[in-house]
Structure formats: C-alpha cells, structure tokens
Amino acid sequence: MALLEVKNLGISFGGLRAVDDFNITIEKGCLYGLIGPNGAGKTTVFNMLTGVYLPTDGSILLDGTNLVGKNPAQICQSGVARTFQNIRLFGKMTVLDNVKVALHNEYNYSLASGLLHLGKYKKTEAAMDQRALEILDVFGMKEYAGLLASNLPYGEQRKLEIARALATNPKLLLLDEPAAGMNPNETAELMDTIRFIRNKFEITILLIEHDMKLVTGICEKLTVLNFGTELTTGTPEVVLNDPEVITAYLGE
C-alpha cells in the first residue's frame, strides 16, 4: 500500500488558484522529488501536507488516515515532518535543545515531576539527551551539541534542520530545497546523507529541489508542478526529457 496518497488537492487564496487538482502517490521507502519552476506551488503543497494551509478541496491520506483538517502539531504526531526553504531553527537554543524539542511527544513526564525535580524527570531528560545525541551523531554533529543553533555554519544549520525533523520520528520526511545555497561539495555530501537516512531510519522522503544534479542523482520518481497543476509524473530520465517540462523551465 502507498504511504501517501494525495487526491485532487487544491487551494485558493481569494480568487487565486494556487494549486489545482494535484495528485501524488508515494510508495513506502521511496525517494520522491517534487520539481517545477519558481512559483509553481511546490511549497504550497508542503504547507497543505503539514497542515499550515487548509486545502480548499481534495484529500491527503497517510497510511490510510486523512490528514486534512488536522493542525500541524497533530499531523507531525501522525508522522509527517519537514524542513524549511528558509532555515527556521530555534536560533537562541542550543543544537541539542533544538533536537530535544522535536522529541517532545515521545518522552513524557508530569508537570509536577518537572517542577519538583523528581526521579522520573531526571530519567526522562537523560534518555532524551541520549536519543538527541544519537541523532546528532548520525549527522556528525555531536560535537556541536552545546552551541547555539544560530552560531552554526550555514551547511550545518541545514543538516540540523533535517536532524530535528527526524527526531519527531516521522514516516514521511518533507525536505524543502535542502541544497539551497550549498556548494557542489556540500550538495554531494547532502545527497549521501539523504540516501543514508532513508535507509537507516526506514522513512519515505519527498523533496523539493532546483538542483537537477541532486534530483537526478537521488530521486526515484518525480512529479513536475507548473502553474499549480501537475505537468507530468515519472522516473527522472523520462520526466526531464519530456518536451513539456523543458518548455516549462526554459520557455519555447
């Protein structure tokens, strides 16, 4: 069964139809790319998938349950996590705390236990620290744990966003332009990381990207979005040689 099934998804902002009749089916474990020219509505699709925007019509099924109408926190708890096109880390918090915030729903202790510093509090916080460090270690960022997130170099901040998203224990990870602003070396490293986390955490990844080297390098399937509607779907070789796609990107 497909992990994510989006049917006839659409959204209007006043008179503007930003996304119309968008369909996508993503199999479990797939590395899927969503591409298209600027302003095509890719991030809008992400915002609908994560509950930031309420779709005007259509349905989003994750493992058979409908996500439409749930708030972002509930959708995150159902197993969808994301990163942002413009980095949105908690800059005034440490790298470790950024990851721990995302562990919020998996570890619990009562308010009383937290206020009074009881055993359950200490045990849980220690377990959270350990888990957060494990995740950071996957990204080779363990040594940055105590730094403020805003003090990290740009590339590391992008990686931390992915680490933070993974900490919510998602089934589906949405990456919004993960390679934006990276140099070719960093992008190559990022491609390895994305492949690695897909295998290690056994998750499904949907990414938006403009860097065609990254897209063709790691995506198994692509959907092209243009003016809010789906242009075509298929394997990277087929899609990128489609004359319609070339026209959409480069013009006639």
């Binding site: 005034k92 915030v101 919020h104 919510t168």
Partner: protein, 295 residues
C-alpha cells in the same frame, strides 16, 4: 555609620519592592514572549490573589498554608480561563484588539471585585509572624526577609524550569517561532495555557506578599504594582526572563532611593523618567535583543 546604615536600609527596602515587581514583571514578559501580547489584566491577578488569600483566612478561616494554596489555585485558574475565553479567540486578530480586550478584562476584574467586596479597604493581618532580624545596627523586617527568600526561590526555579525541562524548552521554542514549533509537534495552545498559569501563580505570590506588607485590600490594589512591573519588564527588555528580573530590581531600588533621598512625590516621575532615558538609548530594553529584519 548612621548614613551608611540608612542607605543600606533603603537599599534593602528597594530590593524588597523590586523583587515583587520582578515577580510580576515575569508574568508580563513570559506572556509577551509567547503570545506576543501585553496582558494588561495581569496586575489585577495580583488583586485576585490578595482577595483569595483574604477569603481563605478571614472568611473560610483556613490555616495560612491552605489559604496560600487557595490563592495560588484561584489565580492559576483565572489566568488560564481568561486566556481561553478572552485572548484565544483573538489569536489572529490585530494587536490593538487584543490590547483593548486585555484592558477590558482588567476593568472587569476590578469591577467584579468592587461589587463583591465593596470599595472600603478591608484590613487583613499579615501571615508572616516572624519579627525580623537585626544585623549590627541594621534591622530588617520579617516580611522583607520572607519576600526576599520567596522571590529568590521563585526566580531560580522559574529559570531552571525554562532552561531544563521539556515544558520549558517547548515554551522557548514557541516564543521563538510558533509555526516551526507547531510543525515539530508542539501543542501551542497547551504551551500558552501553561505560560498563563505560571505567570498567574507568580502574580498570586506577589499578591500575598503585597497583603502581608500593606495589610489592607482594595479592588484597585493591583493596578499600580501592575503598571510598575510592566515598566520593569520593558526596562529589562520585554520578552527576556532575566531582563524582567533585572528590570524589577532596578526599578525597586531607584524608587526606594529616590523616595528616601530626593522626594517622595517625585519618585514615580524619576522612575518613569529613567525608563524614558533607557528606551531612548537602548530601545529594546537592557537585556532585550533588537530584531534585525532582513531586507
């Protein structure tokens, strides 16, 4: 010796009132940090706490510890319910609408208290029976000692709670980026409720300490400490927790020293004058950070 002793006494008085301002200012600053609103009804929660203590002690004849608990519980419930009923529906409304609502809630609380308890000040004996201490020639009253100890404990525990618990880091995350925090699975409504609950509990403690100091209650008793604490929060940099503590204490010291050595009548003018100066030099307050907008 005499002058030095006098200065020290004024200094300690300033610390006492300043630490109460700090306690109240924490409520303003935390709510501002998380809900991005000025809760002008916060000062009146002090009044609610004071009257709840009075009801517990003089009407229900509860032992002091239970009366304190009653005051804490009542204030916490008031804070959470006010947020749910009055502010939550306005979460995406313009800030001016929220501000006016908060002022409305403030008047509502004062008027209801006026209806129930009347305008005549009600005397209430202090629950602090401890006479105070003498160090050398310096005497410090019992309520001052208790106030300093209680407020110090409150501020340390709050700082620790915000820095070291998962609820605290959820609060910091929501304060910084509500949208991103929500997308990481944090229940923003719960976090905002918790913030109001903590702020109101601190206001209740401030109310109790206030009653013990002045031993009299009236429906508008929260207004002046409330507005001063708001000034303290702005002085320290609104949104900053250490800033609220620092701002409160500085404000208390300035007030006490200017009352003693310059003029009682002018002390408020001096306090607000210094606020104006600080804001002219550093608009974000002493510990506030200026947000740089990217163009």
């Amino acid at each position: 010796m005499g002058i030095l002793q006098n200065i020290l006494e004024q200094f300690i008085n300033g610390l006492r009132s300043g630490s109460i301002y700090a306690l109240i200012a924490l409520g303003y600053t935390m709510v501002y940090g998380i809900a991005k609103m000025i809760n002008f009804a916060h000062g009146d929660i002090i009044m609610v706490g004071a009257y709840a203590l009075y009801v517990g002690l003089s009407i229900l004849h509860l032992p002091a510890i239970l009366a304190i608990l009653l005051s804490l519980v009542v204030c916490t419930i008031f804070g959470v319910v006010i947020e749910r009923v009055a502010y939550k529906p306005l979460r995406s409304a313009p800030p001016l609408a929220v501000l006016i609502t908060a002022i409305g809630v403030s008047f509502l609380l004062q008027s209801v208290s006026l209806l129930i308890f009347g305008a005549t000040p009600i005397p209430q004996e202090s629950i602090v029976k401890f006479a105070g201490i003498k160090i050398g020639g310096l005497s410090i009253s019992g309520i001052t000692v208790v106030t300093l100890i209680v407020t110090t404990i409150c501020m340390i525990s709050l700082t620790w709670f915000i820095q070291k618990t998962k609820m605290g880091s959820a609060m910091r995350a929501v304060a910084e980026d509500k949208g991103a925090a929500e997308l990481m699975g944090i229940d923003v409504n719960k976090t905002i409720s918790l913030t109001f609950a903590i702020g109101s509990a601190l206001a209740s403690i401030a109310g109790i300490l206030y009653v013990c100091q002045y031993q009299s209650l009236k429906p508008t008793l929260g207004a002046m400490p409330g507005i001063k604490a708001f000034v303290a929060a702005v002085l320290g940099g609104i949104g900053s927790v250490p800033g609220a503590m620092l701002g409160g204490i500085i404000l208390g010291l300035i007030e006490s020293l200017s009352k003693a050595y310059i003029s009682t009548e002018l002390s408020d003018a001096i306090v607000f004058g210094i606020l104006v100066l600080v804001l002219l030099i550093k608009p974000s307050g002493l510990l506030g950070k200026i947000r740089k907008e990217k163009v």
